[in-house]
C-alpha cells in the first residue's frame, strides 16, 4: 500500500473532500462539504459557533467518522475501512483548543513519544530534534519540566511542536487560541505565523479574524453545516457576497 511513494508538488491537491456529511444524533452538523486543499496553502475556516467548523476539521484526520462522503489525503481515500488511518495521521499534525499535552510526560517526552514509538526516529535523534523545535518556540529551558508547570501559551506552543515532531505534511489547528488568556494569544499566533511562512500546508479554524486575514491564502466561511462562501481574504473580508457572511462579519469586525 505504501510502496507507491508519490510526491505532491506545491499547488497540487493534498486533501480532497467530497460530499462530507456528519450528524451527532439528530443534529445534522455537516450537510455536504466539497473542498480541495492544495499543498502549501494556508486555509482559514471561520464562522459562528455550531456552524460545523471544528467538526469539518476533525473529519479531516478522522477523529470524527464521517457518515457520508469521501476524504482523500495524498491521493488515498482515508474513509475506506481497509486503510490504516494511523499511518496517515502521522502525516497530519493536529493542535487542539485545549492543548491536550500529556501531563504524565516531560516537555521533551511529549515531543519524542510519537516519533520514537512509531519508529520514525531513534531516541537520540528525537531528542536532538526536540531540542531544535523547543528552541524555535522559546521553550528549550523548559525541556525537563512537566506541563503543569507551563502557562497556557507555553502548553499550546508545546502542543504545536509535538505535532511538528512527526514532520507532518499538513497541520490542522482547531481554535488554537480560544482557551488562552488574552495576553498569551499573541505568542501562540506568532508561532503559527512563523510556521506558515515555511510553506507548510495549514488548515486553521479560528475566531481571530485579523489573524485569518493576515496569514491565509484562502478563507472558508461556514454556516449551518455548509461552506457558504470562500475566497481570498480580500474577497471574503473586503467584499463578502453572501448575506450570512456579511451578517457574521458585521458582528465580529468592528
Amino acid at each position: 500500500m505504501e510502496d507507491k511513494k508519490l510526491t505532491i508538488k506545491d499547488g497540487e491537491e493534498i486533501i480532497r473532500v467530497e460530499g462530507l456529511e456528519k450528524s451527532f444524533g439528530k443534529l445534522h452538523v455537516l450537510k455536504g462539504i466539497d473542498q480541495v486543499i492544495r499543498k502549501g496553502e494556508v486555509v482559514s475556516v471561520i464562522g459562528s459557533s455550531g456552524g460545523g467548523k471544528s467538526t469539518f476539521l476533525r473529519c479531516l484526520n478522522l477523529l470524527e467518522t464521517p457518515e457520508k462522503g469521501k476524504i482523500y489525503f495524498e491521493g488515498v481515500d482515508i474513509t475506506d475501512k481497509n486503510v490504516d488511518i494511523n499511518l496517515h495521521r502521522q502525516k497530519m499534525g493536529m493542535v487542539f483548543q485545549h492543548f491536550n499535552v500529556f501531563p504524565n510526560l516531560t516537555v521533551e517526552g511529549n515531543i519524542t513519544l510519537a516519533p520514537t514509538l512509531l519508529k520514525k526516529k531513534t531516541k537520540e535523534e528525537a531528542k536532538v530534534m526536540a531540542a531544535e523545535l523547543l528552541k524555535r518556540v522559546g521553550l528549550y529551558e523548559k525541556k525537563d519540566a512537566y506541563p503543569q508547570q507551563l502557562s497556557g501559551g507555553q502548553k499550546q506552543r508545546l502542543a504545536i511542536v509535538r505535532a511538528l515532531a512527526m514532520e507532518p505534511d499538513v497541520m490542522l489547528f482547531d481554535e488554537p487560541t480560544s482557551a488562552l488568556d488574552p495576553e498569551m494569544v499573541g505568542e501562540v499566533l506568532n508561532v503559527i505565523k512563523e510556521l506558515v511562512k515555511t510553506g507548510l500546508t495549514t488548515v486553521i479554524v479560528t475566531h481571530e479574524m485579523g489573524f485569518a486575514r493576515e496569514i491565509s491564502d484562502r478563507v472558508l466561511f461556514m454556516d449551518g453545516g455548509i461552506i457558504v462562501e470562500e475566497g481570498t481574504p480580500e474577497q471574503v473580508f473586503g467584499n463578502p457576497q453572501n448575506e450570512r457572511t456579511k451578517e457574521f462579519l458585521s458582528k465580529v469586525l468592528y
Binding site: L63, Q90, M92, N100, F102, A114, L117, L118, A159, A163
Partner: protein, 228 residues
C-alpha cells in the same frame, strides 16, 4: 466492668500470639486477594471495554457486565459458600484446601469491584488525551499504554488501597470455614475461655487500628497524587 477489663488483659497476655498470627493470615489473605483480584479485574475491565462485536452485539462486553452485576448483586458470604462447596466438587483431583477455595471466592469477588475501579479510572482521563495521541498516529493500544494508563493509575491507586482495606474486613467472612484469620482466632479463643465479649473487643481493636492506619495512609497518598 473492671472484670471485663481484667479479662481482656488476661486474654491478651495469654493468647496475643494467636491474635497476631491471625492478623498475619488476614493481611496475607487480603494482599493475595487484592493482587489476584487486580490482575483478574484488569482483564475483566478490558473485556468490559472491548469493542469486539457481532452485529452490534458485544459478547465479551456482555459476559463481563453480567459477571460484575452478579458478583455485586449477591452477598460475599454466599459466594464463599458457593466456591467452598463447588470447587472441590468440580476439581476433586486437585485436592484444594479450604483456604484456597476461600481465596478463589474472594478474588472472584474482588475482581468485579476492582474492574469497575479501573474502568472509572480510565474513563476519568480526559478524552482530549486520547485524541491528541491518536492524532499523532499512535494506535489505540499505544495510546492506552503510553498516555491513558499512566494517568489512570493516579485515579486508581487510592481506590485500590481502599479495596485492600475493605478486604481486610471482608476476610472475616472466611472465618465461617475456620481458615485461621483474625476472626477465626476469635472463635478459637472464645471457645477455649468461654468468653464472648472480651476477645471480640480485642479483635475489634486490632481490625480498627489496622484499617485506621491504612486509611490515613490512603489520604496521604491521595494528597500526594493530586499535588503531583
Amino acid at each position: 466492668m473492671s472484670n471485663v477489663v481484667d479479662n481482656i488483659v488476661k486474654t491478651w497476655t495469654n493468647y496475643h500470639h494467636l491474635f497476631i498470627q491471625g492478623l498475619g493470615v488476614t493481611i496475607v489473605l487480603s494482599i493475595i486477594t487484592v493482587i489476584m483480584g487486580s490482575i483478574f479485574g484488569f482483564l475483566l475491565m478490558l473485556l468490559r471495554r472491548s469493542r469486539f462485536n457481532i452485529f452490534r452485539f458485544r459478547p465479551l462486553n456482555f459476559i463481563a457486565a453480567t459477571y460484575i452485576e452478579i458478583i455485586r448483586g449477591t452477598p460475599m458470604l454466599l459466594q464463599l459458600y458457593f466456591f467452598y462447596f463447588l470447587l472441590p466438587e468440580l476439581l476433586p483431583f486437585l485436592d484444594l484446601s479450604k483456604v484456597t477455595c476461600c481465596v478463589v471466592a474472594m478474588c472472584v469477588n474482588s475482581a468485579a469491584y476492582v474492574s469497575e475501579v479501573f474502568r472509572s479510572g480510565i474513563e476519568a482521563v480526559d478524552k482530549g488525551q486520547t485524541e491528541a495521541a491518536r492524532s499523532l498516529g499512535l494506535d489505540s493500544r499505544q495510546t492506552m499504554i503510553h498516555v491513558v494508563l499512566p494517568q489512570a493509575i493516579k485515579n486508581v491507586l487510592p481506590a485500590l488501597c481502599n479495596e485492600f482495606i475493605m478486604m481486610i474486613k471482608d476476610t472475616s467472612l472466611a472465618s465461617t470455614f475456620f481458615v485461621g484469620e483474625l476472626m477465626s482466632v476469635y472463635r478459637t479463643v472464645s471457645g477455649i475461655l468461654f468468653l464472648t465479649i472480651e476477645p471480640l473487643i480485642i479483635v475489634g481493636i486490632i481490625y480498627f487500628i489496622v484499617t485506621f492506619v491504612l486509611s490515613k495512609f490512603v489520604r496521604l497518598l491521595e494528597m500526594k497524587l493530586t499535588v503531583a
